[in-house]
Amino acid sequence: MSAGPFKVCMLGDFGVGKTSLVSRFVRSTFSDKYMTTVGVKVDSKEVARPGRDPTKLVLWDIAGRNAIDSVSANYLRGASALLIVADGTREASLAAALNLLMQARGLLPNAFAVLAINKFDLLDRWEIAPPTLTQLRRAMTVFETSAAAGSGVEEAFAAIVAGLDP
């Protein structure tokens, strides 16, 4: 099908680590300091695709919200995939993520979505139990990620790339 580039939107409640995941993925950097995103920050990265030409992901790091308002709906237009992000140390952020996913599905019925439960390095403070994730996995692709330590990040984006263009 298409050779890209592909628009990928980061969706999730505030503070879950959307900006951090993008920095980890695009620049291999991480900062402890929280600086909330206003509006949207757009980055891009060339990615390899097994057995075919590389393509480009255009990553939209959208300000965190627990529901999609008209501004974020506008940002979502044209997206091919969504990386829905929750924070494992805040159970409420998972509810927000699922809510965002449902709303986004209404706007973008064909977008491919992957769920990242972030801050895996803080596992001892996690509020999300393994059985919950087992359940979620029946319905979608889920990764435990850590923008701080890097684990799961490449895998989550690779899953998006794989799901973009079957």
């Binding site: 628009k7 506008n74 237009r77 596992l123 403070r125 087992t134």
Partner: protein, 506 residues
């Protein structure tokens, strides 16, 4: 909105100039294929080098991936590569189009500081309530432990005080007088009665020993000495002990034995007798009319003991408490030391049996016990080889070598993997019977790996090994989903026992 046309021309002009300046407006004209045709305004401010604009243009083009540029578009607050925030407008113009960029930095700064405060307040609130919860839990736990310790201590003191005098002294005296009686009476006369007295005294003595054991705590009391048991003799002894008591209280006492297993039961005799006698004593004490029934059944290598009465019964709210020591008031009218049932529970636990209680106030009480008979030769079971594959996830070659030898020694096939990610794949693809994780692995921590497995529905047995003996580390491992946690240096006897236990549990 202001009607610009209504303004005097010089005001309108001034306003226009001010707005253009303040917004650092930049207009870019494009062909449909994104070839830049014209550029007007503050290009440098927006980081665009008019001589080599390609990189920045590509970034702008990225904004419209997946979007039709034949329609007007508006994207507010976009942060571009130079870190500044702009509002971006696309103005369609037939085939071609214009992009309009207006500086949004100041507005973003205001919005960011508000948003930052609000978000941080929520995050801090969450962190605070979590910390408070944790503190509250710790305090409750400490409080519970303190109460438990106090209770245990009080118990022990009370017990030792009662035991040493008020129990042993009269027993010794009774034994002495019994001996006198036996010598004075001609043989054959009242011999049965004296025998019954002697038996009862003997069991009282045994009971006293058991109380002492209680005082000693778990440490020394858990050993069992199983021997062949003559159930008929046990039944006869109970009848001899309790029939006279029942007659004196005008109660019916019945004892029955049923046997559908031809083998000879093996139990710790002293403990088994103490259990039955305690239950019967208890039933006799709280039954004022009607009957007390003992039913023994030996079937499938298990002894089923049922003691039922038509006594005063135990109110539901006290039923859990009757097994606690010194439960005065649990059964109304109770005067006893309140140790009998707690001893029963303890002995049943030691014998790995189960104990159930059914009771209704004013109707009666029934205790039901199920005790597994001791195996004929208890040690062979432990050495029996086990089968299957164990996956050892350990990056230290020396340690993994030791584990390999240990597990192969009990009959398991061993596969060693040095990295967590690879181990997760292997375990999910071909679940081993036992998974052994080192806490410190080169890629993921053991906890993270175990959590990942459990989060993907892995249900097999997982044993975590770590050099860290702290309770925190252990809790973290168990919370992540490990079944057992052992510390290094590895105690191989323990490792083997735990492995057997986990394999048996499947």
């Amino acid at each position: 909105m202001i009607d610009a046309d209504a303004l005097p021309p010089f005001v309108r002009e001034r306003l226009r100039a001010l707005l253009l300046e303040r917004s650092h407006a930049l207009v870019l004209g494009f062909d449909p294929d994104w070839t830049l045709r014209e550029i007007h305004g503050d290009a440098a401010f927006h980081g665009i080098d008019t001589d080599a604009p390609a990189a920045r243009i590509a970034a702008l083009q990225d904004l419209f991936v997946g979007i039709d540029v034949g329609d007007d578009q508006e994207i507010p607050f976009v942060e571009l590569a130079n870190g500044r925030s702009v509002h971006v407008y696309l103005l369609a113009d037939g085939e071609s189009f214009h992009l309009l960029l207006l500086d949004a930095d100041e507005a973003r700064a205001t919005q960011r500081s508000q948003q930052q405060l609000a978000n941080e307040a929520v995050l801090a609130g969450h962190a605070k309530s979590k910390a408070i919860d944790a503190l509250r839990n710790i305090r409750n736990e400490l409080e519970r432990q303190r109460a438990r310790l106090e209770e245990a201590n009080a118990l022990k003191n009370a017990f030792i005080a009662t035991m040493s005098h008020e129990f042993r002294t009269p027993l010794t005296s009774a034994f002495g007088h019994l001996r006198l009686l036996e010598q004075q009476l001609p043989p054959g006369e009242s011999g049965d009665a004296l025998q019954a007295v002697r038996r009862s005294l003997t069991y009282l003595f045994a009971l006293a020993e058991n109380l002492l054991e209680y005082g000693r705590g778990e440490a020394g009391g858990g050993l069992l000495y199983p021997t062949d048991i003559d159930l008929d003799a046990l039944l006869a002894d109970c009848e001899a002990m309790f029939c006279p008591l029942a007659v004196a209280k005008n109660l019916v006492f019945r004892a029955t034995l049923e046997r559908s297993d031809a083998t000879t039961p093996r139990f710790d005799e002293v403990k088994l007798r103490q259990i039955v006698i305690n239950l019967l004593s208890n039933a006799m004490r709280y039954t004022h009319s009607g009957e007390v029934v003992l039913a023994l059944r030996w079937a499938d290598a298990r002894l089923h003991v049922e003691v039922s009465d038509t006594g005063i019964g135990i109110a539901p709210e006290f039923q859990a408490r009757v097994f606690h020591p010194f439960n005065s008031g649990a059964q109304s009218g109770s005067r006893g030391a309140g140790l009998g049932l707690s001893i029963v529970r303890r002995l049943v636990e030691q014998m790995q049996g189960t104990l159930a209680l059914q009771s209704e106030l004013g109707v009666g009480t029934r205790f039901t016990l199920d005790l597994p008979g001791a195996a004929a030769s208890p040690s062979t079971n432990d050495a029996a080889p086990v089968h299957g594959r164990v996956l050892v996830v350990e990056d230290d070659v020396d340690v993994s070598r030791l584990l390999e030898v240990a597990f192969e020694g009990i009959g398991l096939d061993v596969r060693v993997v040095g990295e967590a990610a690879a181990a997760i794949e292997v375990a999910l693809a071909e679940p081993p019977r036992l998974l052994v994780f080192d806490m410190h692995l080169p890629d993921l921590s053991g906890c993270e790996a175990v959590f990942r497995l459990r989060a993907q529905g892995y249900r097999g047995a997982i044993l975590m090994l770590s050099a860290n003996a702290s309770a925190d580390a252990r809790d973290a491992a168990l919370r992540a989903g490990a079944d057992r946690y052992l510390t290094k240096p590895i105690d191989f006897a323990k490792l083997e026992a735990v492995a057997r236990e986990l394999l048996a549990r499947e």
